[in-house]
């Protein structure tokens, strides 16, 4: 074998976590190769010109969770990442009214006040506590999860740090953390707010990417997860990446390349090569072998353990946990190329509101009913939607005067009755368009092209099992030292030299990059 096919480390999967991992390993002087099966880097963080002239962040479409230390360490702005502000959220209501939350506190108060004077005040305290909580959880995000049942010095040290940290939270924050870990987002928000559409719009953050309704216990944690976003040191700031989310992946890729990493696309990995319980490399679908003493899988836990590895190499207990690891993709995506912007009945005309998000979440009941449909095997007849118009923030996303809409839709269950097929996909797309057209009647005539993605489509293209955008649900039993499996939350696997760095590991999904970075830390420490 030629030395050209020998590396210090192989990263399987060129999604943002794989790229982050490779960039950090390369930064430490390792000779790294990333193997991406698609012809395009980025995984679920890609920008593609789906229709001529119209560019879409096909899957993930906003950014806020990306760890600031990764942005600094890899100097991503220098490599082309530019974050543009996405400030407002407007919830159109069936009665023709709306609820708006603006980037400005005074404007938000003025708007909320007309719905509920008490909520107009509560939202300030709520925001304070949540950003408090996000700060409180931040050190946990950048911590390799210790195993609480282990007596190893490393785990004990980690547990001590964790205990010390929880102690330092103070009573108010510790109690809030306990509640957020155990309650439903709906119950938690009931403690704060009275205005239905506000509770619904806030609780929507608690269901994204999970097969839970706003009334399912545990959804409050997902709510908090979405508050951990941090842009320029401000918590709960969402942004839009110029050029779409693919630009983030490309910036990370450029950072990795600048440090010598080799990034290969169109190179699907068939299997991990193991000798004497030790990883020695991978074999591609083509039969080509690439050797390295370290192999890192950025794929989700199912693919990492069940697809890439001969099951005889893994303990039964781990295999059982991975088989049980819940994916249950629950969301779809509809991308529209538009001749004009939707004209919302509640806010006629083109305005500042088009530069922010629209949330179809008129009430908690609406969201819960959307979940009920999915629970019983169908897609939501009246789905929750989070809509942005990237061309209003970055005009380069569409031809002059034209627009693109990115519609995140929930619920579209992976396991739908009778399975997904073309007819069902189009019916789902029609439901999304019909629902949105109730609030913006010109929508249908404005649609030039439509791309509808079900969880099955997401799985087929990106490889995300069951189309779960987080590589496994952010449910309490799948977090921290349980993510993805007891005993294997620290990025290692039972096979020496084989590591995991995808969102299936702590701290989970979103375009965060933390798993990729933490795994790199573990790998470098083990070396």
């Amino acid at each position: 074998m030629s030395t050209a096919n020998r590396y210090d480390a192989i990263v399987i999967g060129g999604g943002h976590n794989g790229l982050v991992n490779a960039a950090y390993l390369a930064r430490a002087g390792k000779k790294v190769i990333v193997l991406e099966s698609r012809d395009l880097l980025g995984g679920a963080a890609v920008s593609e010109q789906v229709f001529p002239g119209f560019t879409f962040s096909v899957y993930s479409y906003v950014v806020s969770l990306l760890r600031p230390e990764i942005v600094r360490d890899l100097d991503l702005p220098r490599h082309g990442m530019q974050i543009l502000p996405l400030e407002s959220t407007v919830t159109p209501l069936p009665d023709g009214d709306y609820l708006a939350m603006w980037g400005d506190a005074d404007l938000t108060r003025r708007e909320l006040y007309r719905h509920s004077p008490l909520d107009a005040e509560a939202i300030v305290e709520f925001g304070r506590l949540m950003s408090h909580m996000a700060r409180a959880v931040k050190p946990i995000l950048s911590m390799i999860p210790p195993d609480p049942t282990s007596l190893s010095p490393g785990d004990l040290k980690g547990l001590l740090r964790l205990g010390g940290h929880l102690q330092s939270l103070g009573a108010e924050r510790f109690h809030a953390l306990y509640k957020l870990m155990t309650m439903s987002s709906s119950d938690y928000l009931d403690e704060w707010f009275e205005y239905g559409p506000l509770k619904a719009t806030k609780s929507a953050s608690g269901i994204i990417g999970t097969f839970m309704g706003p009334r399912s216990p545990g959804s409050a944690y997902v709510l908090l997860h979405h508050y951990m976003g941090e842009i320029d040191g401000a918590y709960r700031a969402w942004g839009f990446c110029k050029g779409g989310n693919g630009t983030i992946s490309n910036a990370i890729a450029a950072a990795a390349r600048a440090r010598g990493a080799v990034l290969r696309t169109g190179a699907p990995v068939k299997q991990l090569l193991v000798r004497g319980h030790r990883a020695t490399g991978v074999v591609l679908d083509t039969g080509e072998e690439i050797r390295a003493p370290v192999v890192v899988s950025a794929l989700d836990a199912r693919r990492t353990f069940l697809d890439l590895v001969d099951s005889r190499e893994l303990p039964d207990e781990l295999l059982r946990q991975v088989r049980r690891f819940r994916f249950r993709g629950s969301s779809g995506k509809v991308n529209l190329a538009l001749s004009e912007l939707p004209d919302f009945t509640c806010m006629p005309g083109v305005g500042v509101h088009h530069r922010g998000a629209f949330s179809i979440s008129p009430s908690v009941e609406y969201l819960e009913r959307a979940y009920d449909d999915a629970k019983h095997g169908g897609f939501s007849r009246r789905p929750y939607m989070d809509i942005v118009f990237p061309s209003m923030i970055d005009p380069g996303m569409a031809p002059a005067g034209r627009h693109v809409a990115s519609i995140f839709v929930q619920y579209a269950p992976y396991h739908i009755d009778g399975g997904w097929n073309d007819a069902k996909r189009e019916a789902f797309g029609d439901t999304v368009v019909d629902t949105l057209a109730e609030y913006a009647p010109n929508l249908k005539s404005a649609i030039l092209h439509r791309q509808v993605l079900t969880p099955v489509d997401i799985e087929a293209t990106t490889g995300l099992s069951e189309g779960n955008i987080f590589q496994g649900e952010l449910a309490l039993q799948q977090l921290f030292f349980l993510r993805p499996a007891v005993g294997w939350a620290g990025y290692r696997t039972p096979i020496a030299g084989y590591y995991q760095c995808g969102s299936s590991t702590h701290p989970g999904g979103g375009v965060m990059g933390a798993p990729g970075k933490l795994a790199a830390q573990r790998i470098l420490a083990d070396a």
Binding site: W102, L107, L118
Partner: protein
């Protein structure tokens, strides 16, 4: 859009907007408020201390509290003894959380046996509601329904008497009365944020312009001027009056414990009734009273010679910002930081450089020599200063 995508404007905006000459607007509680009307605030400040000034203070939050349990609610919330107030009396007070940390401060006007008006700097509706659970009380926010004007200065009484149906000569300090100006029924209280003789007028929004016009017309021959926040800020520093979000942070909004203050730490001891029935923070305040506060809110008077010398050393004349500053300035004693100033200004009246400051025990006694940080030509230096009792300025006419 149902709600304009803009700041709110006060009921006086149609008049004040025409008077602001330099586009010097600022935000105050979501309203557009004038920082000053002329290009600088000098004459507006002078009016407060020498003639009379008219200040639009409508952005204050105002709540009307009525019902059988109105007194009970307020006594549960605030540190003053509300039950002891007579109808027609106004109380300045702060209110605290259960740990005795100040949430806000403002005034309570007892308008009747079971009827009050509370003003606050931050929205307080939610806190009132939380505390009113199970009580027979109606809490109505009247922030937008009521315009408010502060008529302040030595000639304020003269101006007011010229237009008010009932003379205000007998209206005592911190008292409130019904009155009528330009056919508009309103209330006049002898209160203000300047430490001078002065009144505040509580005016139904739809009568606001008529009252403004009447006052401005009557005031012409007495040197009445509209004044903005910059002028008010200088006056309130001279008067030693604490300001929320500038000198302290609300316990409901502070991010860390260290950002919270007790009434004792803000030197509001006189407004803390420890002998009344249980109320929010009482237990903590009793304990604090027994052990003595860790901080005090005090005046700082900068030693001019020492201050001037720092500038003279680099060939400059002393420079003080033209507008009162709101920032954190370290205060030292014997090379240790013992506190910080949170606002300061040159007092054109007293001819002194004054600051409002928080000092740790035991450094807050009057006349304690301290040093303040001064940045001269990009270098951080220290000037001598002394701790002073507040207020700096307290003219007899204020209460006379």
């Amino acid at each position: 859009m149902r709600v304009p995508h803009s700041l709110k404007t006060t009921p006086f905006h149609a008049r004040t907007a025409r008077l602001v000459q330099g586009q010097t607007w600022r935000r105050w509680s979501g309203y557009a408020a004038a920082s000053c009307y002329e290009f600088t605030h000098d004459r507006e400040y002078t009016a407060i201390r020498s003639t009379a000034a008219l200040i639009d203070v409508s952005p204050l939050y105002k709540y009307r509290i009525t019902g059988a349990d109105a007194t009970r609610l307020l006594d549960r919330v605030v540190t003053r003894n509300v039950g002891k107030a007579e109808p027609g009396q106004v109380l300045y007070t702060s209110w605290c959380d259960a740990r005795g940390k100040v949430i806000d401060d403002g005034t309570i006007s007892r308008l009747g046996e079971q009827s009050y008006r509370l003003t606050s700097a931050e929205p307080g509706l939610r806190w009132l509601h939380r505390n009113a659970f199970g009580m027979q009380v109606a809490i109505e926010e009247v922030s937008e329904a009521l315009g408010a004007l502060a008529l302040q200065g030595p000639l304020s009484r003269t101006v007011l008497n010229a237009v008010a149906r009932d003379p205000v000569d007998a209206l005592g300090y911190f008292r409130v009365m019904d009155n009528c100006i330009a056919g508009v029924d309103l209330q006049v209280s002898r209160t203000g944020y300047t430490g001078d003789l002065g009144y505040e007028l509580w005016i139904p929004a739809d009568g606001a312009l008529a009252v403004w016009d009447a006052l401005m017309a009557a005031g012409r021959e007495h040197g009445l001027m509209p004044a903005g926040i910059w002028a008010l800020d200088v006056a309130r520093i001279e008067a030693g009056l604490v300001m929320l979000d500038v000198d302290y942070h609300s316990a409901l909004r502070a991010v860390i414990e260290a950002q919270k203050s007790t009434p004792f730490e803000l030197s509001l001891d006189w407004s803390v009734a420890l002998d009344k029935a249980p109320y929010n923070g009482r237990r903590a305040l009793l304990a604090e009273k027994a052990r003595g506060p860790a901080w005090r809110f005090v005046g700082i008077e900068v030693d001019w010679d020492s201050f001037e010398a720092l500038y003279a050393a680099v060939g400059l004349a002393p420079a003080i910002p033209a507008v009162a500053w709101r920032a954190s300035v370290p205060i030292y004693r014997e090379d240790r930081q013992v506190g910080y100033a949170s606002s300061g200004c040159w007092s054109p009246l007293l001819k002194k450089y004054l600051m409002l400051a928080h000092l740790a025990a035991p450094h807050f006694a009057a006349d304690t020599p301290v040093e303040i940080e001064v940045t001269v030509e990009h270098r951080r230096l220290r000037a001598h200063a002394r701790v002073r009792k507040l207020p700096f300025f307290d003219p007899p006419r204020k209460k006379a």
